[in-house]
Symmetry: C2
Subunit: 419 residues, 2 copies
Amino acid sequence: MLNISIITIGDEILIGQILNSNVQFLSDFCTKLGANVIYHSTIGDNKEALFRELNYVFDFSDIVITTGGLGPTEDDITKQSICEYFNDNLILNNEVLDNIKELFKQRNRELKDLHYKQAEIPSKSIPLENRVGTAPGFLINEKNKTVIVLPGVPSEMKYIVHNSLGKIIERKIIEKNSEVIKYKTINTAGIFESDLAEIIGSKLDYNDEISLAYLPSTKGVRLRIGAKGKNLIEAQQKILNFENKILNKISKYIIGYDNNDLINLIKDNLINKNLTISTAESCTGGLLGSILTSIDGSSKYYLGGIITYSNEAKNKLLNVNNETLMVYGAVSFQTAEEMAKNVKDLFKSDISISITGIAGPTGGTIDKPIGTVFIGIAFKDKVQSYKYNFGNDRLQNRERACYQSLLLINNIIYENFSN
Amino acid sequence: MLNISIITIGDEILIGQILNSNVQFLSDFCTKLGANVIYHSTIGDNKEALFRELNYVFDFSDIVITTGGLGPTEDDITKQSICEYFNDNLILNNEVLDNIKELFKQRNRELKDLHYKQAEIPSKSIPLENRVGTAPGFLINEKNKTVIVLPGVPSEMKYIVHNSLGKIIERKIIEKNSEVIKYKTINTAGIFESDLAEIIGSKLDYNDEISLAYLPSTKGVRLRIGAKGKNLIEAQQKILNFENKILNKISKYIIGYDNNDLINLIKDNLINKNLTISTAESCTGGLLGSILTSIDGSSKYYLGGIITYSNEAKNKLLNVNNETLMVYGAVSFQTAEEMAKNVKDLFKSDISISITGIAGPTGGTIDKPIGTVFIGIAFKDKVQSYKYNFGNDRLQNRERACYQSLLLINNIIYENFSN
């Protein structure tokens, strides 16, 4: 297999200031090509740490990818350090300089000394074009060591990855005649990890060369199947063979595959059945609408929504009775049901869903503690409502309320709009 | 300093299936206590890799924290491997077992063999209580090696961190009489990284023991100042001394500090000036509303919004003229302005903001390519609108439209609602 390690360089990641989304993107990209990402690390902006790390990872890696530390300021040390590691020196690359000049012209900015330095790369390296920023990527191939140096700004890193990295990895897999690895994930809901594992049993019970992993989260358990092969097609066939053996045992829990989760399933179902949907949100403030419209094609089924954060808005814009709001409160079965019913009438949608609750950290009472959320759903001439208590964390409460809403929408479609 | 390394164990992170948000949380937590997080790594669920990694990181770490691989299924290898690394054996811990029994009672679930195994920990270890899941954390202290083993499920990991980790780290800092490190971040907008660096100059120009880092993103440049000290107060004083020297040079670009970004600034300004806001969203589908309500106290200023995804909804619910929609289109200055004006009237808010655009990946035309977004803002008796082109990525276009809206709101408050 082609073993890839990814080193992230940057104090901001080490101290927890930002999420390392670059490494997820790079890992996903390399894995989908069949490469074996075996290691991630993050070090500070520090030459000694980078030297130590390169010595360590080259022991078990065919390719080392670094991201970060290519900016123009004095805390950025990656380029100089990698150059020194390979006993090389920096030289001005005219191709890179032309690109920087072009960028500055487009943006009407003046070129400074700092930016000329950006056009320097190690003399032994091959530049990797970056048309969206001033930091070029570069590749060094020496004594069986391949290092690919990428910027840390996500848009710039992604530009180089899409433009150059795919070709480099595919060529290496062919050169090395490497085995490849392929994964498929089955997303389930409504079953615990241990119960799912019991139903499926040990992978040793199956005569297949596959790996199995269970990934539990608040959204359900994902089952990941992995297989190696001479090429991606062979690996895929092994996964399919295994999948066929377990499918009838677990089919009722499946809500999607790989990155296609519940929202994609709902989209497909709504479009196939020609149904429309609208939303009425209080404590989630538009989050459910934003999830329903996060994927392409959502205008085919999502008509819109009303966000009513105040009681007055619930009454004036959603026609929730003032009596309901006074007697039962804004966070109640009754309000949730009126919200769902009335938004359905306003938008003339087939299904409407409402969320009203106490996201926290303030606003809780003894009867209705923080995390209390009511969800209403209206369809045909019916309206149903449900009560939940999600916990103490504001952002998590909002997310869980939305995810629970998606589960409800999915159920209602199955139970009431079957062909 | 107290050097901490964090090892994440899990193939799901390595192959890019999920973001490593655990390591950010842990790093942020340890850094705020004054510890020095010097290293992150991620390895697969694999004993040999864990042994190699522990040998490597103990060379430069006072404390090693691991997360992941403590589940009950056969792909989870962390506990057995750590136990073997320390030449120890697993024993049933009754405290842990009682906790698991209690959890299962609460959830009305039946205890299985698998779960008894969860109650085993290395004989030399100290269990770290986990009241929200079956995987206990544990701590091993041996021959100057301290390892803290935590589960990978975020809610369980966080429970143990809040309950146990803080005390362990604080005690170690005192035991070792370690220096501590403190950071402060100044968030800026409206200035490029290189220009900001030029204004501030080299840190060598200042007679302060501080570190400086520039972190550019689509939201602006963040400047992080770091300082070491005998304790957190001394470190903080060094940061303050430096900050006072640069503050007048950069004050006009500052939009917040640390995690307090634009949304917090807007919240404070709206509440202080007693202003209310409402939203009308098309392509962002509720995302702006969800950002405005993502922080506690948002009900003091956010009244609500209308999400009008279809033209019909724009006309019927937001009273956008059908003529405007036909002549200029739903994505136009005119529609954005009518949306903003009309949602302001509906909610009777002081400020209203509207977003209409083409998020992509489909729907673009030659005149209005993907990424074209119009933002309208209504306040007092005025309405203004702006045109942007953000690019080709659907999710990024939606985010940028919302961030641009926040910048506009912030400007409008400053320019039109000053006391």
